[in-house]
């Protein structure tokens, strides 16, 4: 049994398992950690698929940056404990399960029709990877895809602006005041009232 098969059959189940774990565990932090593991497994898959550069990026960006950010926010908001007790949505789980299975089945049939389950990747990927994967990648990226690359910069700017606008909004004082104002609110009461109902009273009172 060739090595890549072994690796695949070791990490694929692990990946699925961690994904499931991410779903089922109550504690948000644990879920995040499961996700980190899952990302590792995916990174391994990249390795199998001769994408070493992405393997690295995956580990750095996802497992590193993004998930840390997640954990940080979870800690910050202190919402690590599982979902607060509340009414369940009727039939949500069953339907979700069915739909998940269904979409897998559909994609499976589509893939089968498209490329067939047995098809193996053709050899000769190295031509594409001349000068090593990163270099080749850079080649493609900065020639064919230079414009999308520019667009991503815009995208990141927008993201930054968004974060700025959303995070440091008005002066802290008002924020505090608002939090206090809303601390005691019965949220169900909101549920009954249209947007800016009692809300607006308060605004005017201010």
């Amino acid at each position: 049994m060739p090595l890549d098969n072994v690796v695949f059959w070791v990490f694929a189940p692990l990946s699925v398992a961690t994904a499931i774990g991410m779903i089922v565990v109550r504690n948000a932090v644990h879920a995040a950690l499961f996700l980190v593991v899952n990302f590792f497994t995916i990174a391994v898959m990249y390795l199998l698929l001769d994408a070493p550069f992405l393997f690295a990026v995956q580990i750095v960006v996802y497992a590193g940056a993004i998930m840390v950010l997640f954990l940080f926010v979870i800690m910050l908001l202190g919402v690590d404990r599982g979902d607060a007790p509340g009414e369940r949505l009727f039939g949500q789980r069953a339907t979700a399960a069915i739909l998940a299975v269904a979409i897998v089945a559909e994609m499976a049939t589509a893939i089968r029709a498209g490329i067939g389950f047995a098809t193996r990747a053709p050899e000769g990927f190295d031509e594409a990877n001349q000068g090593g994967n990163p270099a080749a990648l850079a080649d493609v990226l900065f020639r064919d895809y230079f414009f999308p690359f520019e667009v991503t910069s815009i995208l990141l700017i927008v993201a930054a602006v968004a974060a700025m606008v959303l995070a440091l909004r008005r002066s802290k004082a008002i924020t505090q005041q608002e939090i206090e104002a809303h601390a005691g609110d019965d949220l169900e009461a909101y549920a009954m009232t249209p947007p800016g109902g009692p809300e607006t009273m308060r605004e005017r009172a201010r």
Binding site: T152, V161, E199
Partner: protein, 481 residues
Amino acid sequence: MIDPPRVELWAILPVLVLFGGALVALLGAAVTRRGEPAPFALFTLAVLAATAATALWLWNRDPVTALEGMVSVDRLAVVATLALCGIGAFGAYLGYHYFERDASRRNEFYALLLFALGGMALLVAAADLIIVFLAIEVLSLSLYVLTALTFRRGPTEAAMKYFLLGAFASAFLLYGVAISYGAAATTSIQGLARALAGTTGDQALAIAGALLLLVGLGFKVSLVPFHMWTPDVYQGAPSPVTAFMSAATKVAVFVALVRVLHVAFVGLQWDLAPAVATVSAVSMVVGSVLAIAQRDVKRLLAYSSIAQAGYVLSAFVSPDRDGIAAALFYLISYAAAVIGAFGVTMLISGGIDEQTGFERFRGLGRRRPGLATLLTVFLLSLAGIPPTAGFVAKVFVLGAAGSAGYWSLVLIGALASVLGAFYYLRVVALMAMREPEGEDVADPSAVPRLVLAVPAVAVVVLGIVPGVIVPLLREAGVLTW
């Protein structure tokens, strides 16, 4: 070493202008916190004017695919860009009028608006699925923030819903890109077209990719059943934002859909059309039916916009230029009407603390005949009652559907428009045929009314002489291969 790529920046001049303007506005906002909003508004209008000018300049150039096949500059893109500029201008003015009276100035609004517009302008020119994806992300992120911009409970909740579902949707969109790539070994729209044209045999994978793209884009234009966010977000978001996104997003994304369905996957027309027709029919019916129960005008308009999306989509079953022209005409008339409708609603709802329940509109005809008349015109157009643009638009799209032989779709559309008339005219009746009650919080100033009279006039003129733009739209309907 790398041979340098061809960089025809002129091709994306409008986009560049918009993004540039956005950055300037952003710096301005950062520098002058709580500065006077007026300069920002004027600046935004100027930028939009410049954009429009560059777009017009592009009109007469031969359609090309530039930047290594990433954007294609054709008349479709130009027309769409012009429409977006118009919508953006009204959005900017409404926002100015809206935030003017707010204690904490939100001048980021203009920057974000321009970013969103930039994303849209890019989207309508996209010639590669990756650009489609990125552009949609740009405009989405901007819209998420715009939605939350007043940080009241409604807007923030709306923003969160919009974001979560939006991210969910973009995952599908990306999956669609991936599958298409898998099926055709390229993400270039024209490349896809060529690849799929050649191949024979089971196209299941390609179709799956196309459908996933349809799902992702369908979410943005709120087609049933991917519409669920629409009522909440439209109602929750500040009215000017709602007005802007309900009009602009639909224009941009539908144009992208034109490229995806009528260029990239035109080879699969016969497989995709039934799916498109189904979604269109369901959207028309569900949107219209659910709107009937609404007691809040913003929400009602949100549902109506769902139905409207269905109508636009019904033109997509026919791939010829007339179908595209019909869709464009519908989009333009819809944009004019809906931005006007939300604008009037904003004026009536009394500022930041929006109160858009029916009770606000009772007997408006007596209190504010001007506003009532404006809103009536817009609603009539949305309902598709002559002599407004909405009527002609409906005839065009249904005609397009008919020319493709989807007569059942035509009939459903025609019947759904009856339901439409029901709830739109209910608001009219509310304003004209009932006695006013409660105190009057409607905006007294006259300027916004004059501004909103412009789309009203446009709607009527397009309804009486649609000929003024139809030829242009048919020009735009000619797609580059």
